[in-house]
């Protein structure tokens, strides 16, 4: 509780830093916002609690149709280098304690960054999906397994079971196989209040149907085709082999759920139940594994945006701050970009960051005219249309709802102003 408990940063205590822009989060959105603003001439500070810049981009690894491998670690490195070359100060290993208006960001090192503009790009976190036995060492979130494998180059296990069927879990299953792990199966979660419809085979097929033809690996392409229409989905489910569908070295089990995890001191085995098309369990069987990866889906992280008119939009993955077409929140000069506004891929996050950075540069008088902003806004729409992975199947609808809520707010504000002018 001593004011400053940070084993990796030694500071002289209270240090005040002044800049034009402070960006919280050095993931794809935050770095892109920083690069754009700094290259236009703004003084930018970026803060991240991780030891290096990149955020969730660091662990990404998949094949993009037409353009080859998307190696997140390399893209992060280039983006961070570009930022540093543009004069951005990237402060890693720092936790944000507090953000207060116009805009002061207090850090756990005792430092404080003061800036006219702030960008919150805190990204997303994974929803926990409790499974009996999930506190055993060897059980981890799918994202943790992804970063360990692709960034740190440590295999999280030799025999791995995956719980939860979604674009992230299917992608990581492939990445784990590439790294030499034996992915014994991808299972649905057992029925529980936490799993909700994630335990329901039909919902899962419908979800798979939302994935794109451009999908970066066979799992996703297969899912998209198989489940494209409702009749086919019903058929698919009825005939879905109980032993699962063999795919790239593992099995996708839409007729099996993982009901518990066991072991002494660490994961040793899982209990898997055969389920009917409604998700009700039948016979169970024990499978030996040393690692279980849980995928409960992602949600936007709102720890720093609570004064920004938060709304829940399920199509975007959870609660998001209201934001303008220029990525500004209900708080003047406080911007958002990336997954904090809804769950989408890194390319879209980068485009949103670029848009926020462009708007800020323009407000600072560093860019003239509206063309740059229009171009950046168009780039966000294009990135969404050409995205290889669609995490949220109804993302377009979610964005429409968010846009409408913003317009409604603008209308209400202008009416309120009129009321005041009569008074």
């Amino acid at each position: 509780m001593e004011t400053f408990l940070n084993p990796r940063v030694k500071t002289a205590g209270s240090v005040m830093m002044i800049s034009d822009v402070v960006v919280i989060g050095a993931g794809p959105a935050g770095l892109s916002a920083a690069v754009t603003a700094a290259e236009a001439g703004a003084d930018v500070v970026v803060i991240d609690e991780n030891p290096r810049a990149g955020g969730k981009l660091l662990g990404q690894l998949h094949e993009e149709p037409g353009t080859g491998w998307w190696i997140g670690a390399e893209i992060s490195k280039k983006l961070a280098e570009r930022a540093v070359n543009a004069g951005v100060r990237i402060l890693t290993n720092r936790q944000v304690w507090n953000i207060s208006q116009k805009w002061e960001v207090a850090l756990d090192t005792g430092e404080c960054v003061k800036a006219d503009y702030a960008v919150v790009a805190t990204g997303a976190a994974e929803r926990p999906l409790p499974v009996p036995g999930w506190s055993l060492p060897g059980v981890m979130a799918i994202g943790a397994a992804q970063t360990l494998t692709n960034y740190y180059r440590v295999r999280p296990g030799d025999r791995i079971a995956i719980v939860g069927v979604d674009p992230l879990s299917l992608t990581v299953a492939h990445e784990l196989s590439m790294a030499g792990a034996d992915v014994v199966g991808i299972y649905l979660p057992g029925k529980s209040i936490f799993a909700g419809t994630q335990a329901d085979p039909d919902t899962n097929l419908e979800y798979l149907a939302g994935m794109s033809d451009l999908a970066p690996n066979a799992f996703l392409r297969w899912g998209g085709k198989l489940a494209a229409n409702k009749t086919l989905r019903k058929l698919a489910l009825t005939f879905f082999p109980k032993s699962g569908l063999p795919l790239m070295g593992t099995r996708l089990n839409l007729r099996k759920s993982l009901v518990s995890i066991g072991g002494n001191e660490r994961v040793e085995h899982v209990e898997v139940a055969t389920i009917d098309s409604q998700g009700n369990p039948g016979k169970t069987r024990t499978v030996k594994v040393d690692c279980v990866c849980i995928s409960g889906g992602l949600y936007p992280v709102q720890e720093l945006t609570r004064d920004c008119g938060l709304v829940r939009i399920d199509q975007l993955g959870g609660t998001i701050p209201l934001y303008s077409p220029e990525m500004e929140t209900t708080q003047d000069n406080l911007f958002v970009a990336g997954n904090v506004t809804g769950i989408e891929g890194a390319k879209i996050a980068m485009a949103q960051g670029n848009l926020a950075g462009t708007v800020i540069a323009s407000r600072l008088g560093l860019l003239e005219g509206k063309e740059a902003i229009d171009r950046a806004a168009a780039a966000v729409r294009f990135a969404r249309k050409s995205s290889a992975i669609t995490f949220m199947p109804d993302i377009e609808e979610g964005r429409r709802i968010a846009d409408d809520l913003w317009l409604e707010r603008v209308r209400e504000n202008s009416l309120a102003q009129k009321d005041e002018s009569y008074a």
Binding site: M140, L148, E265
Partner: protein
């Protein structure tokens, strides 16, 4: 090293710059750039602490600093998140809590 992916079909060979650190009195090697959690896992160490209430083992869960399951004492500083803290040469790391849980195989 036990779980290190030394050769990868896409990512190529691994960096070789080694670091050395101590965890609960035992010495381990890691690779420069490792997080504390990744360095320990590469050595086959999964248990990073023991829970307060029942003394049960706990390891990495979220990997992004949210769940605090991987917290440990780093060079005397308590409750540091192993998953988002870089491992440095000469680090002295200690697990927190006591291993006192009677564990049963639940099956």
């Amino acid at each position: 090293m036990l779980k290190r992916i030394s050769d990868h079909p896409v990512l190529g060979p691994l960096s070789q710059e080694e670091i050395e650190f101590e965890f609960d009195g035992k010495s381990y090697q890691g690779i420069k750039g490792d997080s504390i959690a990744s360095a320990l896992l590469a050595n086959g160490v999964r248990t990073l602490r023991f829970s307060n209430r029942d003394g049960e083992p706990r390891g990495i869960y979220c990997g992004i600093g949210h769940c605090f399951e991987c917290r440990m004492t780093v060079n005397g500083v308590q409750s540091v998140r192993a998953c988002i803290t870089q491992a440095c040469d000469g680090d002295v790391l200690e697990s927190q809590g006591e291993n006192r849980g009677e564990r049963h195989d639940d099956f």
